[in-house]
Amino acid sequence: MTRHNQRGSLIIEVLVSISMAVIFSLAIGSLVGVNNRLTTVARHDARGLSLAKESMEQVFAAKQQSWASISGLGDGKYTIIEQDNLFQLQPDVSPTGEEFADGFFRTVEVKTAYRGADGQLGLSGEPDPNVRRLVVTVTWLERGANRDVQLEGFITNWKGN
């Protein structure tokens, strides 16, 4: 087909096509950015959860070794330290919890466990000296906002020692 139109493109047509190309590129770029951010958030979430589980496991290990190391503790916040091949809980005085991995802070709370009239463990009833409530919170900063993961469980003196 012969084309007789020799006018070329108007400057406005060129500008419109350039701006459309810029908008498309920016949209795709921001999509990649959002994807990267979500991947980082998911990675930090997984790390926070694994650190919290690890901390629960450390308190369980201390309890299995000796119930006395837990039963003597009053309600409050503690840090877990390794001493003489043993996990030991020491009072935590820092307001934010202890930083125990790059940028991740941990709070270990030991609380009284109560046994209701039906014999079930819960938040009310008679204090049970052979059970303690354990709450582990791991917090970290994600783009200026606090994120946290909290695990809760009961530790029992099932061995009766």
């Binding site: 012969t2 690890e54 496991e57 450390q58 369980f60 290990a61 309890k63 299995q64 091949n85």
Partner: protein
């Protein structure tokens, strides 16, 4: 429909050269992109394999350690013997061993005493290299730290596993 054209001029050498230049840039870009995608895919597969091998190894160990009443760790921290109660015969405990041999994880089980090295079986898949393995006993727990490599990628897991003790 296609209309016959009266333009018999063909293309000039310059037009042909420009076309060739542009098309080679496009083809080169596409080829680089394809090569990168294929390289990333291979690395992702290697990463997944290494991660899966490390996770399976730690899961197996967790299963064995949970019910232990005693663990023995060799001086170099690379062999773990796990003693658990054998309810069929309380005098003969079940002993499960995990050990590193030639950059592979080996495991085996026997009664009363740890299994002989020749009775151990590989616990990491072929092609996966166990780069690092260490066991440490703290309180009533075993701290396992291992790193598996597959090709250019590796995966590291460090885990504390508590056991019941006597």
């Amino acid at each position: 429909m296609f209309k016959p054209t009266n333009n018999q001029r063909g293309v000039t050498l310059m037009e042909l050269l420009i076309y060739l230049g542009i098309s080679s840039v496009v083809v080169l870009t596409m080829m680089t992109l394809m090569a990168n995608v294929s390289k990333q895919r291979l690395q992702r597969i290697q990463q997944n394999t290494a991660q899966q091998a490390a996770r399976v190894a730690v899961d197996k160990m967790t299963y064995s350690i949970r019910n232990a009443y005693r663990v023995d760790i060799s001086a170099d921290g690379k062999t773990l013997d796990i003693y658990s109660t054998n309810f069929a015969d309380l005098t003969k405990p079940i002993v499960t061993t995990y050990s590193e041999l030639d950059n592979q994880l080996y495991t085996g089980q026997s009664l009363e005493t740890p299994p002989q090295p020749e009775n151990l079986q590989p616990a990491t898949p072929p092609g996966v290299i166990l780069e690092q393995l260490s066991f440490r006993e703290i309180s009533s727990a075993v701290q396992v730290s291992l790193r598996c490599r597959n090709g250019a990628r590796n995966a590291e897991i460090s885990s504390t596993i508590s056991f019941r003790q006597l």
